[in-house]
Amino acid sequence: MLHDIFRKIGYLIRRSQQPGNAHEEAPDERKLFERLELNKERIQSYYGNDLVLRACNVGSRAALLCYIDGLADEKFIGDFVLVPLLRPWLQQGMRLSHIKEHFLTAGDVKETDALPLLLGSLSAGDCALLLDGEAGALLISSKGYARRGVEDSTTEMTARGPRESFTENMRTNTALLRRRVKSPDLLFDLCSAGRYSKTDITIAYIRGIAQEETVAEVKRRLAKIDVDAVLESGYVEQYVEDAPYSLFATVGNSERPDAVAARLLEGRIAILVDGTPFVLTVPCFFMETFQGVEDYYARPFFATFLRVLRFAAAIVTVLLPALYLSFTIFHQEIIPTKLLFSMVGASANIPFPELLEMLLMSFTFEVLREAGKRLPRAVGQSISIVGAIIVGEAAVSAGLVSAPMVIVVSFTAVCSFMVPAHNDAFTLLRFIFIAAAGWMGGVGVLLCALCLLAHLASLESFGQPYMAPFFPLRRGDLKDSLVRAPLHDMVARPTGMTGNRRRVGGNK
């Protein structure tokens, strides 16, 4: 006891001498004290009025149960922690380990003597049991904070297939994955990031399929994250990606457990971030933009058709305005004569040059789209549609823009909704291509396309070429690229992501 007092006095003196982080402690001060009062004071200094301290006696020894109001499940604590503890037949001098092994009926119970671990567990929703005279505590899992249930995915809707999507709770998410990959080779490695948020991050991979080097690289990059907080998987994405200055994200994400499970089975690694339903997957490929999870549930020919359609839509959304512009102001010879007459007639009284007209219309559309996202759901859709129609119609009637221009921009907009994953990149590219077309017509578009192609071909995602299987050409992987071969033809996993390539046959 004296020893504890001296330690405490020493700690208080040192703390007063060092301005700055009030809670910086000497290494030995990260341990719990034997005296309950000291531990209580210490814990109280970290939390506000949401800390609940329940004093009790276990046998004849004073005990303290701590938990955070709102994070812990009080009913669970009452039923599975307090009830077993408050038994009159508990022996005197019982140790924590004995209580853990013989009396507590809760499932997940850990013993620790580290204060940071105790504080972290309290913040996560666990409760801690401290005994007077023992420099340790039991951490009992009792998470009971409000959480959203498993619902339909709002960003990746499908006509056929499971409806479940990830939630903000990481444990629920891991459970959803475990349900789909029941093999014990599905491993979850836990780490955390964020000095203040201490966000839990789980790395999921299938041993024997995922490459160990890639897993190690993921862990290395996650360990390098040194920020105040990681509030969403997007933070993690931007800190671990290979090309942070590129328009294209080299880290994939999905809200669907079936999609993530399929990617795990191809040799990828999933990064689950607590607090967000979007799970990251690496390595990521550009072609994933055009591949939906529903493609594998539908017939191969229709799935192929849909992929080609999405790819064509992507090309249209990026290139159509630029090509229209280059044909109308540089290469008018390509336009059929009669169409040219109607276009000339339509643009006869427009005061603006075509380039400015295109930029105005594109910008207007982006404003409408962004505004539509922020409107309340009840009125959002109607106002978007009506606004777009009225704006388009009024602009044409007023002679501000020509009707062909409105058609081109509208069609471009519709096509952009077919590939939402890269919508941001494609939007910016569209403006770049428009500028290139206005500068040098078709030659400008060509040079810009060459730059884009070279950039995409140079991107990598965790050691894998981003544009695989096209750049470089991997003929074996073309079966599941723009086309979707029948499932029984897809016998191998993608090249380069795993040494264990065979995925059909060989069942033991």
């Binding site: 102001i329 540089f330 008018q332 040219l340 000339v344 643009s347 006869a348 500068w439 040098m440």
Partner: protein, 376 residues
Amino acid sequence: MQNAERKCRGFVALLLVGLLFLFAACNGSRELYDLGIVLGIGLDRSAEEGAVDMTLQLASGLQGEPGGGMGGLQSGEAFINYTLPGDVSLSHFRQFKLRMQKEVYLAHNELFVIGEPLARAGIGPYIDFFLRDPELRVSTNILVAKGSAAELLAAEAMLSEYPTLSLSQREDSYPLSGATSRCSLFDFVSAMASECRCATVPMAELQAGADGEPISVFNGLAIFRGDTMIGTLTQEEVSGLLFLTDAVRNGALRFSVDGSVVEVELQRSKTKLCYTVQEDGTADILVTIRSGGRIVSRAGGAAERNSIIRAGETRMQEEMLMTLRRAQELHADIFGFGDAIAKCEPDWWEVHGGNWEANLPRLRFAFDIVLEPGEL
């Protein structure tokens, strides 16, 4: 240090991109409304010595008002014809630009119409001028007008509201009509570049229509040696040319046999020519034709099938002989016999090719014609 380097690089990159915009006026972009879309070009011999009246037909309703002091100005509802005398040159086109306040845009030009007087004088310099223009198509059709090209361009259009488009479409449809051939700028220049071949260009003239208004009608072909027109083929002689150049796609035969007048529509025809050269500089040409079709009408008489076939074959031969005689009269190899012989008998051609035009009348022809019409 790295930061400073990055900033330097970023600055240089921005500077380079910014410099691009200094070239803002150098890119040659044109707004749609600034274009004077030319659909047809007519060339006539001017009253002024050495000058040429150039007529441009532009799509109307899309054009600005012309400036004052124009030459001739004709207008239909959908088109405007501008005529300006001068020499076909860059400055001549610049005059159009000044007066129309629009850029003369030749990429959609469908037709050249050359007045016959100018064609007989020679059109080489004008062809050369237009051939060098990067906008103009070499697939543009050429037509010779019996009379004035400007008048032909102003005549009422049949298939389209634009006379040039109508004329051009009719020329393009020669396989269906079987009554004329097609000559593009490419074909014309190829013939000019050839050692001995003469180009044939469709001719059109104005005739009074049902309502008294003049309409354009195709009638015969003009024969050019080099860039100068030297003669014509009548409408009857055109079909012989088509047979001999294997250009019949939908021909028509009309002949009498045993008191009945028979019309046969030729739907398939294949011509092969076999050349046997002689030491005296002449050649024997075997014309083999296999034709098929259907008998469209048979009025009067009760001719047998075999008689009809023989009469049809005879008629085909007569038409070809008619054309051959005309070509021989003019010493004009409009069929490409010389080119073909030069390719398959180059040694002989090296010796006798120089006298080909003189030897043309001495060519001998044999015919092997098989006509297989459909069931009676």
